[in-house]
Structure formats: C-alpha cells, structure tokens
C-alpha cells in the first residue's frame, strides 16, 4: 500500500467517525457547567478533599488505637531511658543505671505515620497516573508492615562474648542446669553476657525494660536493677562494668554487657528450699528510630538458691 493510499484511507476512516455537530443535550449540559460544577478555589479544594481526608483520618485513628494498645501492652516500646549517673573517671555500676523509667507509645512515630498515611491515602485515591497510585498503596502497606513489626523484632541475641556471674558458686548437687550465684539476703550480683546484633541494620542499645523479673513483693526474689557494659579491652570481669550509656552496634557486632541484680530477701547460699531463676534479659534497643524490646535468652538460667521462709 502506498503512502498516499494509506493517508487517504486514514482520512476516510476518521471522517467516518465524525458524528457532526454536538447534540442539543450537550449544549445544555455545558452551558449549565458554571452553575453545577464543583466549586473551585480553596472552598472547592476542601469540598473535594474532605471525603478522602475524613476516610484517611478514620483509618489513622484506628491504626493509632491499635498501635497504642499494642505498644502499651509491650514492655519497653517507646520507653524513656533513665538518666543515670554521669560516667566519671571512677566508673561504677549502680542500681538504676540503664533501666527504662516509663512505658508509653511513641507519639512522634504515630503522628508521623498518621500524617504519612493521610497523605498517601489522598494520593492513592486521587492519582491519575497508575504508577503513582500503586506507589502510594505500596508505601501504605510498607508503613503498616513496619508498624506491625514494632516491638516484635528480636535483632539482639546472646553471643559473641563471655557468660558468667559474680559472685559465682558451683552448681549444687541435685540441679542439672543453671549458673549459680552465691548470695545471702538481698545481695547485689552481676551477670556478664555478650550480645550481638543479628539484624542487617545497625541499632542502639538503650537499656533494659522496666519491671524485669518484677512481681508483687518482688524484693523477695531475684530481679534486675541495672545494666552496664564492659569496654572492648576490658574482658571478663563483671566487677569492672561501667555505667550504661547508649551503645551502638553495627550488624554482626557484639558487646559485653553487665546486668546488675539483687538476689532478693529469700536468697540463700545453701540449699534449703529450691532456686529462683532468671532465664532472659529484656534489652531495649532502637533501630530506624523505632523502639523494640528483645528478650535476650541466656544460654543457661542464672539461679539463686532460696530458703523459702523469708
């Protein structure tokens, strides 16, 4: 087929699609547009934007409520660290170091996530380009997924260092497992444990969660009352622990921390009744600005004998 013939056929084809003048109904509809069209300007924008904004606001409220419930029910999430004693030239680990004081939802994150969800929701609802709409939906799903991960990730586990207690005692006869602490009454003891960042992202250790090993009349039993750390060049002696400071861990990096504990009033240095055990340490860490709590399971439970009559 020649170009001339192709062009002629195209023209004929297009002429065949020409319906002629606009029908009267269209003239009437268009002339009524100024009276019936949505209001322009800021009032028009608000009128158009309010429905999706209202829907997004409802969604944000739901997400906020759910997130709040989840965060409040999870120790340590969004917690605020206690400001411990300032490290000095004579560092000493004291009770209260590194223990998180309060538990509350991270309002900043909720507000940011809510704002982002609103914006993305509006974009997804009004985007004319499919790619933009799909991108907004993907981002919404990403935010929801990240939100669902808050407080559930265990990026920190025991590993990469020593494990021991001070003061130490040999495992009494009759016990098959456990590292035993020699303590009489509510004496202080320390647990040395190495922890490793097992995730693919760096994180910061920010303390231990409040209420660890606490139950009614908790002073009867062993409990965690502080946390410190050992510098890299100071291996293996928990008595040389320094007061806790925010600790940065790159992926795969390890550090030795020292848990400060109290043995409880019932603690005994001899076998009289049984033993109380600490099986894990609730370490709080921050990753991508989100607060998580990892229950770092100890390779053997730390055990303290008790007299059972205190």
């Amino acid at each position: 087929m020649t170009d001339d013939r192709l062009e002629r056929d195209i023209r004929q084809f297009l002429v065949g699609r020409d319906p002629g003048p606009a029908p009267v109904s269209l003239h009437a509809a268009v002339s009524a547009v100024p009276n019936t069209a949505p209001v322009s300007g800021i009032r028009g924008f608000l009128g158009r934007a309010l429905p999706p904004l209202a829907a997004a606001a409802v969604l944000v409220v739901l997400v906020t409520v759910l997130a709040s419930l989840r965060l409040v029910s999870f120790d340590g999430a969004g917690a605020t660290p206690v400001i411990g004693p300032t490290p000095s030239s004579l560092p000493s680990l004291v009770e209260g170091d590194g223990v998180m004081a309060t538990v509350s939802p991270s309002l900043l994150h909720l507000v940011l996530a809510g704002t982002a969800l609103i914006g993305l929701g509006v974009v997804a609802a009004r985007a004319k380009r499919r790619v933009l709409g799909y991108g907004a939906i993907t981002a919404i799903l990403g935010i929801v997924w990240i939100g669902s991960m808050i407080g559930t990730s265990d990026a920190v586990e025991q590993g990469g260092g020593s494990f021991g207690v001070e003061p130490f005692m040999e495992r009494p006869a009759g016990f098959e497992r456990g590292v035993f602490v020699r303590a009489e009454g509510d004496a202080e003891f320390r647990i040395l444990v190495g922890v490793t960042n097992l995730s693919r992202l760096p994180l910061d250790l920010v303390g231990v969660a409040p209420g660890a090993a606490q139950i009614p009349d908790a002073e009867r039993l062993p409990r965690i009352v502080g946390v410190g750390y050992l510098p890299d060049d100071d291996c293996c002696l928990p008595t040389r622990a320094q007061p806790f400071a925010r600790l940065h861990l790159d992926p795969g990096e390890s550090i030795q921390i020292v848990i400060l504990g109290r043995a409880g009033r019932c603690a005994s240095a001899t076998v009289e009744s049984g033993a109380s055990q600490i099986e894990s340490v609730p370490l709080v860490y921050e990753q991508l600005t989100l607060i998580h709590t990892a229950a770092v399971r100890l390779e053997e439970p730390v055990s303290i004998l008790n007299n059972g009559i205190c």
Partner: protein
C-alpha cells in the same frame, strides 16, 4: 464589543485574533458563551478520537467542568481554543487509557450509506481497507491515536499538534511515524491473511 468585561481573569474571544476586548472567565455567562463557540469542534474531535459519540459527550462535559474549575489558570485569553483543546485531548487520553482493557470495535457509522453508493466490488474493497484501518487504529496507543487524528482529521501541522498536546515536535513526529508503521503492519497482515 466582542467580549465582556469583568473583575478577574480575562480571555480573548477565539473568534478573532488578539487583541480584542477581554471576556472575564469568572463570569458564568461569558464562560458559557465562549464554550458555546468551541463546543461543536471539541465534540467532533473527542468523537473521532474516542470513536464513540456517547462517550465523546461525556468527555466534552468533563473537559468543560475542568476548564471552569481551572479558568483562572488561563492568563492569555487568545489561547482559549488551544487551551480547551488540550483539556479535551487530555480527557480523551485518560478515557482511552481507562478502557484499554476493554476494547470495543464498532462498525462504520456510514455502513448503509456506503453500501448504497458503491458497486459491490468497490464496497468490499473499501470496507476491507476501512476494517483493517479500524483494527489497526484500535490497537494504537492513546497518544498515537491522538496525533493521528490531529494530523489527518484536523489537518494540523506537526508544530501545531505539539502546541495543542503540549509535547515536543520531535515526539509528535516519532509518534506519527510509529502509528503509521503499526497501521501499515496491520494492513499488510490483513492482505496476507484475508
């Protein structure tokens, strides 16, 4: 006086070259008057692009609403025709994209009239060619359809098409070439497989 004066936003009547007296787009009667002059051309263009008179009515109405809502963006009144044509083309493009998954192939509107005016052999040849063009046209991308219509139905130059669609002239040329190539391919396939 051709235009109507008002308080904000002006437009020149498309019936005469500028400068003429401005029509205030914020006034409803002025807007309706200007739209009235563009309506037939816009409707026919939309119908040729979309291939559906009913959908063309909806498209032009949507374009009129969009023009009313964004009338204050039109700073140079003399450009109203080009501005509104661009809106119509954009609305048609969106509609073509939206229905891209549900193609509808229509019979020629003047099928009966063509049948009366042609000898049977000529009729068959004409219909065969038109059908091939129609099938080829149906598989073109929305942007290719639009440049083809503006070039061969509105007889616009490449530069004028570029102005009315808001794309560079080089892009218009490449889309035209690509569209013609695809039509040739469709016709060649039809000739080989009757």
């Amino acid at each position: 006086m051709l235009g109507v004066e008002g308080d904000r936003g002006t437009i020149w009547s498309p019936a005469r070259p500028a400068p003429i007296e401005p029509i205030v787009m914020s006034r409803r009667d002025a807007f309706a008057a200007v739209m009235e002059r563009q309506l037939d051309a816009a409707y026919r263009l939309a119908a040729v692009i979309l291939g559906d008179a009913g959908e063309a009515e909806d498209a032009v109405h949507d374009a009129a609403v969009a023009a009313w809502r964004s009338r204050e963006l039109l700073r140079e009144g003399a450009r109203f025709e080009a501005w509104f044509t661009r809106i119509v083309v954009n609305v048609c493009r969106d509609r073509l994209r939206a229905r891209s998954r549900h193609r509808v192939v229509q019979l020629p509107a003047d099928f009966a009239e063509t049948a009366r005016n042609h000898e049977r052999s000529d009729l068959l040849a004409a219909l065969a060619s038109r059908d091939s063009i129609g099938r080829g046209f149906a598989v073109l991308e929305p942007d290719e359809r639009i440049v083809l219509v503006l070039r061969f139905w509105r007889d616009l130059t490449v530069d004028a098409i570029a102005e009315q669609t808001g794309i560079p002239s080089g892009t218009v040329k490449s889309r035209l070439n690509h569209a013609l190539g695809r039509l040739r391919t469709a016709l060649a396939i039809d000739e080989v497989t009757p």
